[in-house]
């Protein structure tokens, strides 16, 4: 198990390093002078050159990269070019906001998706199975910006059940924040429900058809016992992997939802930084999203290996 973990972490570190190189190069091949960008069109060339020297952006690219990397490993990502404040002071609150939204969406969609998939599998071929499968698929193929706007119009403006923005007023308590996050979580639930339910259904059907399930029935165990003890444990393994891979998306990939609901998460921060060519902020945000994806994948691998010894042992060999 230890070797398995070390291998996985080593892969994650290499991936992150590659990502850092790509992000850094991507940000620096674009034309434009950092000093000019900060000081504006009317600053003198001398003032621009002085600022470039102060910021170290007049140094060779490898030197700049090493300087940036040494800062990044100490969580010092430099200062935002647009906002003139430490990148970490912008990134921290945005990441926290994204985690909150992801948590609310997770709490709703994971049980719903798993239960939906299990019910569909247990009713394979019947109308209930069709309803769950077709409705889940429909929700998945509707883009978030469409479902988001429709939900805002319906639940926010016509019925006035929820506020139309996701950001609660300053100083709001946990319950108020939760209330503001329900509406933006719903389009995510629509997108992910079908996906999770489909995988859970497929896993259940495979497990229900497996020899060990038939053996369990032949041993005289009740249907409830067979499903709880033998089927579910095996059936949900692929679902766990799917859920884990969606974690990164839920935290770092919600640009559209965060924009529609005016939520100041990491997706919107990255979008704004990209619009303003705020390179330090872009680099840091992409790296943080990369870390989130890798950590989520790593946790999925570990969970998967704990539930399935064959993976663990295979990794050890």
């Amino acid at each position: 198990m230890a070797r398995f973990l070390i291998r996985r972490i080593a892969f994650a570190v290499i991936t992150l390093w590659l990502l850092s190189v790509l992000v850094f190069l991507g940000a620096h091949v674009l034309p434009g002078d950092v000093g000019r960008r900060i000081l504006g069109a009317f600053a003198s060339p001398r003032a621009v050159a002085n600022l470039d020297r102060q910021l170290g952006v007049d140094k060779p690219l490898p030197v700049q990269y090493l300087n940036w990397l040494s800062g990044a490993v100490r969580f010092n990502f430099g200062s935002s070019l647009a906002y003139r404040q430490p990148v970490s002071s912008l990134l921290g609150p945005a990441l926290l906001n994204s985690l909150k939204l992801a948590a609310v969406a997770f709490v709703i969609v994971v049980p719903l998706g798993v239960v939906g998939g299990v019910i569909a599998a247990l009713n394979r071929g019947r109308p209930l199975d069709r309803i769950i499968t077709v409705s889940g698929l429909s929700g998945t193929v509707v883009p978030e910006f469409v479902s988001g706007i429709v939900l805002i119009l319906l639940l926010g403006i016509v019925i006035r059940l929820f506020p139309v923005t996701a950001t609660a007023p300053p100083g709001s308590g946990a319950l108020t924040q939760l209330y503001y996050l329900i509406l933006p979580a719903l389009p995510l639930v629509l997108v992910l429900f079908g996906y999770i339910a489909r995988i859970a259904r497929a896993g259940m059907i495979d497990a229900l058809d497996a020899d060990y399930t038939r053996t369990a029935y032949l041993k005289g165990l009740s249907r409830r016992t067979v499903i709880w003890r033998h089927v579910l444990r095996n059936a949900l393994l692929p679902t766990i992997a799917v859920i884990a891979t969606q974690t990164g998306y839920l935290i770092g990939g919600l640009v559209v939802i965060e924009t529609i609901f005016n939520y100041h998460g990491i997706g919107q921060l990255l979008f704004t930084a990209a619009q303003q060519k705020d390179f330090p902020l872009i680099q840091a945000t992409v790296m943080v999203i990369g870390v989130v994806y890798l950590v989520a994948t790593l946790l999925a691998d570990i969970t998967y290996s704990l539930l399935n010894p064959r993976i663990r042992l295979g990794g050890a060999r």
Binding site: P31, G32, D33, R36, R37, L39, G40, A41, F42, A43, S44, A47, A82, Y83, R84, Q85, S89, L90, P93, I149, I152, L153, G156, I157, R160, P163, V164, T165, T167, P169, P170, T259, I260, F261, N262, H264, Q268, L269, F271, T272, A274, Q275, Q276, K277
Partner: protein, 560 residues
């Protein structure tokens, strides 16, 4: 009647030479009441005197100088404004975007306020006057104003603020307005209440250059250390209580605001930042915010039809410029440029792109909103036959292919497509290069900017209460924004004359010459200028918006 005449005479004796000229123009019927109010305010005639003289003049009595009606407001309450986020840190020197300038106008105070009627309203400056050559301007600074930190404001603070922006070492965005007019150190405090400004060149409209129209120029303390985004120390109607970058600015009314008649009724206001127009519009419809600042007409269809929303509409000089590189083929021949302009159906553009919230323009920055515009110059209209003839005469009868560059925002991509389809009708193929805003503007200097280097491009320009900036930076030979690379010494001379002129009739005469020259040369297509449009919920009143999207919430509040 004799009493009235003697009172007029007494008032005239107190006015400057330029002021008396404006009064002569009005009484002789050469300018309208509205233009008299506007020109008089520039010449430093106080609002009460202007109102009195206007009432004595030939035309019917006007409404309030600001031209806006008021409703009864109850004191107190909290309002939320949905606005664009500032693109950068809130630095008065650097702000150059809609979100940033709106916030500056809430916290800061200007020498004077250029409202929707373009009549200057005195604020920190109580009055102003100029020398007869319009090269020296003297401003009387109001007593009793304090900064938010309690420090009294004097002429020294005003002089320091002006000199701060005029110094090229500081790279202020206001330099675009001051170039060739105002140098660093030109403003001096004669005493605590008198400010004198010596100009490099005469400027008849100079008070506008120091007004809210030059939105960077909120008055800062003389010892300002570049930390505005931490202290927010100015002397405006609201004080900042918290600022969350990219999210929101919260303010409370400034109870010690200098104008006791305009201490804001609202207790507190949140300015919630929205990166997306649709989200802001939905937030208003969902009553999450009570006011939305300017939104693009193309995005606001839902609000125009919503009976539960009040639209705030203000005529402005906001516009798009379509530049054609005068120094590059195929646009070196002015007949080709004229042909491109003749291909456009401007009324259709106004209706289709902007829902009618715009006015047709005539290929010069003299929009109809300006009193100095010479309306006797014939409007250019679509004429495809003539356009084809011009291309034929220029040796381009078989057409040509060019690339049109612009950025993705507002109605601009749609405008680019309409230009593309119009050009096709005269045999010109346009390939579109539509990028994001930051890529288009680049570093905003020649050689490092698609905007300034492209063969053909569409650029957005914000409102100015006088056309000086539009006549200068994008069109004079050494203009820093001269994307058309237009070089014409006759034009440069006419602009210098126009800028130096203080009286309206002479301005109008020179404007006619400039308009004719630009129509002939057509370095840039000015097809329309559009209105500033915002919205509120019905229970909010007295929200005023300027042409450059600043909000005046000094009287705003809940009606019920």
């Amino acid at each position: 009647m004799d009493d009235e005449q003697s009172r007029i005479d007494a008032l005239r004796r107190k006015q400057s030479e330029i002021g008396n000229h404006v009064i002569d123009e009005y009484f002789s019927g050469h300018i309208s009441r509205r233009n008299f109010l506007r020109a008089g305010s520039v010449a430093g005639i106080s609002i009460p005197v202007l109102s009195f003289l206007a009432a004595c003049g030939p035309a019917p009595a006007p409404s309030t100088p600001s031209g806006s009606s008021s409703v009864k407001i109850k004191r107190g309450g909290h309002a939320a404004v949905g606005c664009l986020p500032p693109a950068t840190a809130l630095d008065p020197l650097k702000v150059d975007d809609e979100g940033g300038l709106l916030l500056l106008s809430q916290v800061g105070e200007f020498l004077s306020w250029s409202g929707s009627s373009l009549v200057l309203q005195p604020r920190v400056a109580q009055s102003w006057s100029s020398s007869s050559d319009a090269k020296t301007w003297t401003f009387k600074i109001r007593k009793g104003i304090t900064f938010h930190d309690g420090t009294p404001l004097t002429a020294k603070d005003v002089a320091a603020t002006i000199n701060l922006h005029a110094d090229p070492a500081n790279g202020s965005n206001a330099l675009s307005v001051f170039k060739g007019v105002l140098a660093a150190g030109a403003a001096t405090a004669v005493d605590d209440v008198t400010l004198r400004v010596e100009l490099e060149a005469a400027s008849g409209n100079f008070p506008y250059l120091l007004s809210s129209d030059n939105y960077n120029l909120i008055i800062l303390p003389a010892n300002y250390g570049g930390d505005f985004s931490k202290t927010f120390n100015s002397c405006g109607p609201f004080r900042v209580t918290s600022y969350q970058t990219g999210q929101r600015m919260s303010v409370q009314r400034n109870a010690t605001y200098w104008d006791k008649n305009f201490i804001p009724p609202l207790d507190t206001v949140d300015y919630d930042f929205y990166t997306d127009d649709q989200s802001r519009i939905l937030a208003l419809q969902g009553k999450t915010v009570q006011i939305v600042s300017h939104f693009a007409a193309s995005d606001g269809q839902a609000l125009f039809k919503d009976p539960n929303v009040k639209i705030i509409d203000s005529r402005s000089a906001n516009h798009r410029q379509v530049h054609m590189r005068n120094d590059m083929e195929p646009f070196t021949d002015k007949r080709v440029r004229q042909a491109m302009a003749l291909a456009l159906n401007r009324p259709d553009l106004v209706q289709g792109l902007l829902n009618g919230k715009a006015q047709v323009a005539n290929d010069s920055p003299f929009f109809k909103v300006y009193p100095s515009t010479n309306t006797s110059v014939a409007q250019r209209e679509q004429n495809l036959t003539k356009a084809k003839q011009l291309l034929q005469a220029a040796g381009k009868g078989s057409g040509f292919t060019v690339q049109l560059s612009t950025w993705r925002g507002f109605e601009i991509p749609d405008y680019a497509q309409l230009i593309q389809s119009s050009a096709k009708k005269i045999g010109v193929t346009i390939n579109l290069n539509i990028v994001d805003e930051a890529t288009y503007y680049g570093n905003a200097v020649f050689g490092q900017s698609i905007w300034l280097d492209s063969l053909m491009g569409i650029t957005d320009y914000g409102h100015r209460a006088v056309p000086n900036v539009f006549l200068g930076a994008p069109l004079v030979s050494d203009g820093p924004w001269n994307a058309a690379h237009f070089k014409n010494s006759t034009y440069d001379g006419l602009v210098a004359q126009y800028v130096a002129t203080a009286d309206l009739s002479t301005q109008r005469r020179i404007a006619g010459q400039i308009e004719t020259l630009l129509l002939d040369e057509t370095p840039i297509i000015f097809a329309y200028n559009y209105d500033a449009t915002g919205a509120t919920l019905p229970n909010i009143g007295n929200v005023r918006m300027t042409g450059d999207f600043q909000l005046d919430l000094r009287s705003a509040g809940f009606t019920s």
